[in-house]
């Protein structure tokens, strides 16, 4: 007796045969035990498959339960965020269209006491803020464009993550400046702390011209066009100004971002300054060290410890009790100079040392080399060594944090979201850290943030390497597999990047892209991990649903 083929039996069991054929199969099955058994087996197989697949063998992951909450809420708040960011974008457009940018900065007054208005609209007092303001506006515009794109693409989940961070940034910037321990003065004209006046707390001043003749028992935070300090500051002086003159006494440190800084008084501790011209006058005295970045640095007074200079021109005619490390175009040591420590200078020209100068030892000069390093063999040797070092660093990180590494790499595989977030983190975090350093949040927080940001930079390339490795070899099953892919991907990224580095602009852009991508992936993974968890109860909340008889695999059809 001929048996039915399995295909026919399956189609019969699944009610896919026409009536005539089905009747023929049914008639055959009544007489043929083997075919009857096969039909029954196929039916049982169907039921087994259905049962196995429908069985609730694992609960809904908490990530998905949490996503439910986020999805529920995002309908509401995301529109608020979008609206807020849109307003920022509209404001930016307004400032560009209605008034010329430069005039706007010069004329802008205070709109309130928020850090945002303080930092953004007082830009005229320090020209460096102009670029920062521009950056903020560019970020706002980019965000607006990004949100438009996200809305059109309806990728709300990724948009939500980005929006949350952005909202946090803007909220932090817009927080009112705290009062209380800080005495706050703002004026568009001049501010003066009279000689007999004493401020018992920190003093926060924003004004055109400032004059401090009295005593400040805390720190001074100054934002303005110029400031002259003839009084006594017992804490630190943090100054953003076009011109700064220190005639009096500062017991703490000076941290300044200025065009001109002149010190004729005394500074108890250290000076860290970014400016065009800095001059420690012959009457001036700094108890600690001085670190200066600028065009021209002159030291005529006395410096208690080391001098570190990155300047076009360095002129030293005073006394330096510590060592000197300078880098720039030219260096001159005058006849009245008394240098107790070693002097190292790296520049284009040998330093000019006057015969009357008193030096502890001869100046160690290193000629700055501008030739291309890419033609040298040892450059590539070092590239290999650095690559190996990074792979080792990545290996340690992946072994220490295997789960988080995996999550980060997975986040990196979605190109759009991490790059978008990376752009934000790359620019916004240093700004936020600097703001934290110079304002009220605190230097430790700012420094820690910057340190984490730098760590993120180093780690970014490793993450990108792992993503590339995954693309090539497919996803890894375990940590060592991921490490292997990271090593391969990292090496490939380096191989591709090294020749691009010759093309400076392209090289920088590629490096930026890699950093933003990697940092965005890390940020995304952190966001996913530390966003609020909601207990998984979704599986238990499926509404009762009656399951009607399963018609298609319901058994052998009666003839």
């Amino acid at each position: 007796m001929d048996h039915l083929d399995e295909m026919t039996c399956l189609l019969y069991a699944e009610r896919q045969l026409d009536r005539v054929r089905a009747q023929a199969v049914s008639a055959h099955a009544q007489d043929c035990a083997a075919c009857r058994t096969l039909l029954r087996a196929l039916d049982r197989e169907s039921r087994l498959l259905t049962r196995a697949m429908l069985e609730e063998d694992e609960p809904l992951p908490s990530r998905l339960a949490e996503f439910q909450e986020r999805a529920r809420k995002s309908f509401g708040w995301i529109w608020g965020v979008v609206l807020g960011l849109s307003a920022t974008g509209v404001y930016t457009l307004y400032t560009y269209v209605i008034e010329p940018w430069q005039v706007r900065l010069e004329e802008a007054g205070f709109g309130g006491t928020s850090l945002l208005s303080l930092l953004v609209f007082q830009g005229a007092f320090w020209k460096g803020w102009q670029s920062v303001t521009t950056l903020l506006e560019v970020l706002a515009m980019l965000t607006l464009a990004g949100f438009g794109f996200a809305l059109f693409r309806r990728r709300l989940r990724r948009g939500s993550a980005l929006a949350l961070v952005l909202a946090g940034l803007f909220a932090a910037l817009a927080l009112p400046a705290p009062a209380g321990a800080v005495e706050f003065h703002k004026t568009e004209g001049a501010y003066e702390l009279a000689k007999d006046d004493t401020v018992k707390s920190d003093l926060f001043v924003t004004c055109g011209r400032g004059r401090i003749d009295g005593t400040i028992e805390g720190d001074l935070f100054f934002f303005g066009q110029s400031v002259e300090i003839s009084g006594h500051i017992k804490g630190d002086a943090i100054i953003f100004a076009g011109s700064t003159r220190i005639n009096g006494q500062i017991d703490g440190n000076i941290r300044s971002f200025t065009n001109n800084l002149t010190i004729t008084g005394s500074v108890g501790k250290n000076v860290l300054t970014f400016n065009e011209v800095v001059n420690l006058d012959s009457a001036g005295k700094v108890g600690g060290s001085m670190t200066a970045f600028g065009e021209s640095v002159g030291v005529d007074g006395r410096l208690g410890r080391d001098l570190v200079v990155f300047a076009d021109q360095t002129i030293i005619s005073g006394a330096v009790d510590g060592g000197i490390q300078a880098k720039g175009r030219a260096m001159s040591i005058g006849s009245s100079a008394q240098l107790a420590g070693p002097v190292r200078f790296e520049g284009d020209n040998p330093p000019t040392v006057s015969s009357g100068a008193k030096l502890a030892s001869a100046v160690q000069f290193t000629k700055a080399e501008h030739k291309s390093r890419y033609t040298e063999g040892h450059y590539y040797l070092w590239r290999v060594i650095w690559t190996a070092a990074f792979v080792l660093f990545g290996l340690v990180l992946f072994l220490l944090l295997p789960k988080f590494s995996e999550e980060t790499v997975r986040a990196g595989e979605r190109f759009g979201a991490p790059v978008g977030l990376g752009v934000l983190v790359f620019f916004a975090v240093p700004i936020a850290a600097i703001i934290a350093c110079i304002t009220v949040v605190g230097i430790p927080l700012g420094v820690l943030t910057l340190a984490l940001w730098i760590l993120g930079l180093f780690t970014a390339e490793i993450v990108v390497g792992a993503v590339v490795g995954n693309w090539i070899l497919g996803r890894a099953a375990d940590t060592w597999g991921l490490i292997g892919r990271m090593a391969l991907g990292f090496a490939l990224v380096r191989i591709v990047y090294t020749p691009l580095e010759h093309l400076h602009v392209v090289g920088h852009l590629v490096a930026l892209g890699i950093w933003m991508w990697g940092m965005g992936a890390i940020s995304l993974a952190l966001y996913n991990r530390f966003s609020p968890r909601v207990s998984s109860g979704a599986t238990a909340s499926i509404p009762p649903a009656s399951l009607p008889p399963y018609t298609t695999v319901g058994g052998i059809q009666p003839a």
């Binding site: 039915l4 083929d5 399995e6 295909m7 399956l10 189609l11 699944e14 896919q16 083997a34 075919c35 058994t37 096969l38 029954r40 087996a41 196929l42 049982r44 197989e45 169907s46 087994l48 498959l49 259905t50 049962r51 196995a52 697949m53 429908l54 069985e55 609730e56 063998d57 694992e58 809904l60 992951p61 990530r63 998905l64 996503f67 439910q68 909450e69 999805a71 529920r72 809420k73 309908f75 309806r154 990728r155 709300l156 989940r157 997975r410 497919g474 996803r475 099953a477 979704a538 909340s541 499926i542 509404p543 009762p544 649903a545 009656s546 399951l547 009607p548 399963y550 298609t552 695999v553």
Partner: protein, 202 residues
Amino acid sequence: MEPLRPGSMSVPGMTQTTEAVARARAGDADAWGELYRDFAPAIFRFCRRALPTREDAEDATMEIFMKLRDKLTQYDETRSFSAWLYRVAANHCWDILRRRKIRQDKETDDVETVPLEHPDPNQLDKLIEQKTNEEVRQALHKLGARARMALVLRYYSDMSYDEIADELGVRRAFVGVVLLRARHELRQALEGKNALAAGGTS
């Protein structure tokens, strides 16, 4: 409690879902939450069966619901919501597999080759009787992507042959062939023989 499948809802359940869909379309966040709470477990399980790893399934579930939100306006309320939802999910998972190129070209070649052998019914019966649900699930992950997807669409989502043909891009007449070949692969995997191992395991 029986998991949700297309067409498996009671009338009250369907009414509630229809109302929730209407409210979600109008921008009601709570309604969206209801839909997610009701259907996410079943869709996650669908993705878990169709995709190689648990992480893939988690990602896909979220992406499907994001898509769903966009497509909610396209949903025809006269049809079953869960059936429509499974179509969206199936499309998404199949797209994922296609993008990753883990669908094997060989499968395309074989799709219209009808296996005509007559297996030993008693042996097949015995094999099925011995295997547990867990073993079947493990074996499923050893199948090729097309075979696995075909079985999931048919026996998990309860899709018709027409719908499966549409999803997998094969002629309707050959859906049975695809399913039969998938069953053969599954049996081999259950017996410990190498199936078309593709897609890895979770």
